[in-house]
């Protein structure tokens, strides 16, 4: 892990106007600061309603901030003005959202190739990479299925590799496995770790599940209730590669879990 921060968040804030008639506006996030190092797997846990999605939307530049700044490699992202937003920061920040957001009219393969097509980077090499990723997550044979013909877990995998295929330096993940059953979820977590080991991308992974946050991350941030701030920071020095199923009984895991548990109200 290098000390150089790849992405920095400084005093970030977001407020929403309240219903007409009431004058106080609500801060969902306020004065939030943290940074992510190159190649780091950062997980963020917080109670639901702590603005986790909003935070990622702002970092991904699809939502404006009400204050503060986001820096990518020391370059300040234009995040305070809706007109100058640059979603994805020129394809350098990938975003795996809570819903799979696959394009329903494209087949699975076409969906995975979609970013390459829009970026004009579809060639033999990238196509081979896409095929490799499809095989890695066990989707081979389903290339020509439409999203509605795939199971929830399969759609999730497709949306995951759709972001991995164009290899953005930072990937944001917003509870990507939230809606899945426990079994599928564990399998996908293993898949994700395996994929991460291939490339060691920088990942910011948001979840409300403490177990997931510890099992996946190098470091875990705990957020407070709205307005969200950093309540605590925990280094997860569990050895890698990790065994997702076995880790739960690891005494070290239990110790970290309890520390985080206390901070999440």
């Amino acid at each position: 892990m290098s000390a150089q921060a790849l992405l920095e968040v400084h005093d970030l804030g977001k407020r929403f106007a309240s219903r007409a008639g009431r004058d106080s506006s609500l801060w969902v996030i306020r004065d939030l600061s943290f940074s992510v190092a190159d190649g780091e797997f950062l997980t963020i846990v917080g109670p639901s309603g702590s603005g986790k999605t909003t935070l990622l939307n702002m970092i991904a530049q699809i939502d404006v901030a009400s204050g503060g700044e986001v820096r990518f490699q020391s370059e300040v992202a234009p995040i305070n003005d809706p007109k100058s937003l640059n979603p994805g920061l020129s394809c350098r920040i990938g975003y795996v959202t809570q819903e799979d957001n696959l394009l329903p009219w494209r087949t699975m393969l076409q969906n995975v190739l979609f970013p390459l097509v829009v970026q004009g980077r579809l060639n033999d090499e990238t196509r081979a990479r896409a095929e490799m990723l499809i095989r890695t997550v066990g989707l081979a044979g389903f290339e020509n299925h439409y999203p509605h013909e795939l199971s929830g877990g399969m759609r999730k995998r497709a949306s995951l590799i759709r972001t991995l295929v164009y290899d953005p330096p930072v990937i944001l993940m917003d509870e990507p496995f939230g809606a899945l059953d426990a079994q599928t979820r564990t399998v996908l977590q293993e898949d994700l770790l395996r994929l991460w080991n291939l490339g060691r991308k920088t990942i910011i992974f948001v979840t409300h599940d403490i177990t997931e946050a510890i099992a996946l991350g190098d470091r875990t941030l705990v957020l407070t209730r709205a307005p969200a701030r950093v309540a605590g920071e925990h280094k997860i020095d569990l050895p890698r590669p990790r065994d997702i199923r076995g880790i739960l009984t690891d005494p070290k895991f239990i110790e970290i879990y309890q520390r985080i548990r206390e901070q999440v109200q």
Partner: protein, 290 residues
């Protein structure tokens, strides 16, 4: 439906997701300002429309384009003199009677057929054909059969309305939530109770969607039949005005037609709102109009 982003108090994660693309760091004043500005814009457009109308009538002459003021005057005198009212009520009578004659069987039939899926399936292609067929093209036939009086117009309106309402009622019955039926049966409802308390209330919104779609067709159908052949009614007035190069007269008749459509729409909406008070205030259904 539009502009819902960010107006709610963000109490949960979902809200926060919804509010992507909310107004920039929300100030209430800016939102109210937007509303005022948009109303102002709408008023401006209205004034511009009238200005264009007036300009056209000045430029081309009232012979081609009746002036706005002239139209208003003629509308008032027409209403006060009773002549316009009598033509309008003739058209309205055609539309209403035809609407009832076509609409009532169209609501009842699907309920009768509910327990007879085979009969419904047999009828289906014929109904689809009737729905798709160009009913207005039947106008000459009805005039041939029923003469140029009110009967031919009623027939045309009735057949137009029938198929529209039939299919919306049918889709209402098909959209029935089987879980609700099972629940009713478990608490001891018989077939009649189910029809009355579950199927019918569930189908009412669909029936009204059908009514709302059919309403302009009913008035349009009556007017078209009058255009082709009649000696009374708004369609006749339009035709008469056009033949005498009296554009103001045409405008007045058109305006009266528009007003009738508007009244009809309002009536359907009011009636629907009374019947559907239980429904959560949902997003307005968008339908394709006339």
């Amino acid at each position: 439906m539009p502009g819902c982003a960010g107006t709610e108090t963000p109490t949960g994660e979902k809200m926060a997701t919804q509010s992507e693309f909310s107004a920039p760091p929300g100030e209430n004043s800016s939102r109210v300002g937007t509303l005022i500005r948009s109303r102002g814009d709408q008023l401006l457009v209205l004034i511009a429309l009238f200005a264009i109308w007036q300009a056209c009538s000045l430029w081309l002459g009232t012979y081609w384009v009746g002036s706005p003021w002239g139209t208003v005057v003629r509308l008032t005198t027409g209403v006060l003199g009773g002549e316009l009212l009598s033509h309008a009520s003739f058209t309205l009578a055609e539309a209403v009677i035809g609407f009832l004659l076509g609409g009532i069987p169209a609501v009842i039939l699907p309920f009768l057929l509910r327990r007879l899926p085979i009969v419904t399936a047999i009828l289906d292609p014929f109904m689809v054909g009737g729905y798709g067929a160009p009913k207005l093209a039947l106008a000459p036939l009805f005039i041939l059969w029923f003469g140029i009086g009110i009967e031919s117009k009623i027939a045309l309106v009735a057949i137009t309305v029938f198929f529209i309402v039939y299919f919306s009622t049918l889709s209402g019955i098909r959209a029935l939530d089987t879980k609700l039926v099972q629940m009713a049966q478990i608490v001891g409802a018989d077939e009649k109770d189910v029809a009355r308390h579950i199927v019918f209330p569930g189908a009412v919104p669909y029936i009204f969607t059908g009514f709302r779609i059919a309403m302009p067709y009913a008035i349009g159908g009556a007017v078209v039949a009058e255009l082709i052949s009649a000696n009374r009614g708004l369609g006749y007035l339009i035709q008469l005005g056009a033949m005498n190069f009296d554009t103001t007269g045409v405008f007045v008749a058109l305006l009266a037609t528009g007003i009738i459509v508007f009244i009809g729409n309002t009536a359907v909406n009011v009636f629907e709102r009374r019947l559907l008070r239980w429904r959560p205030p949902s997003d307005a259904k968008n339908q394709s109009g006339t």
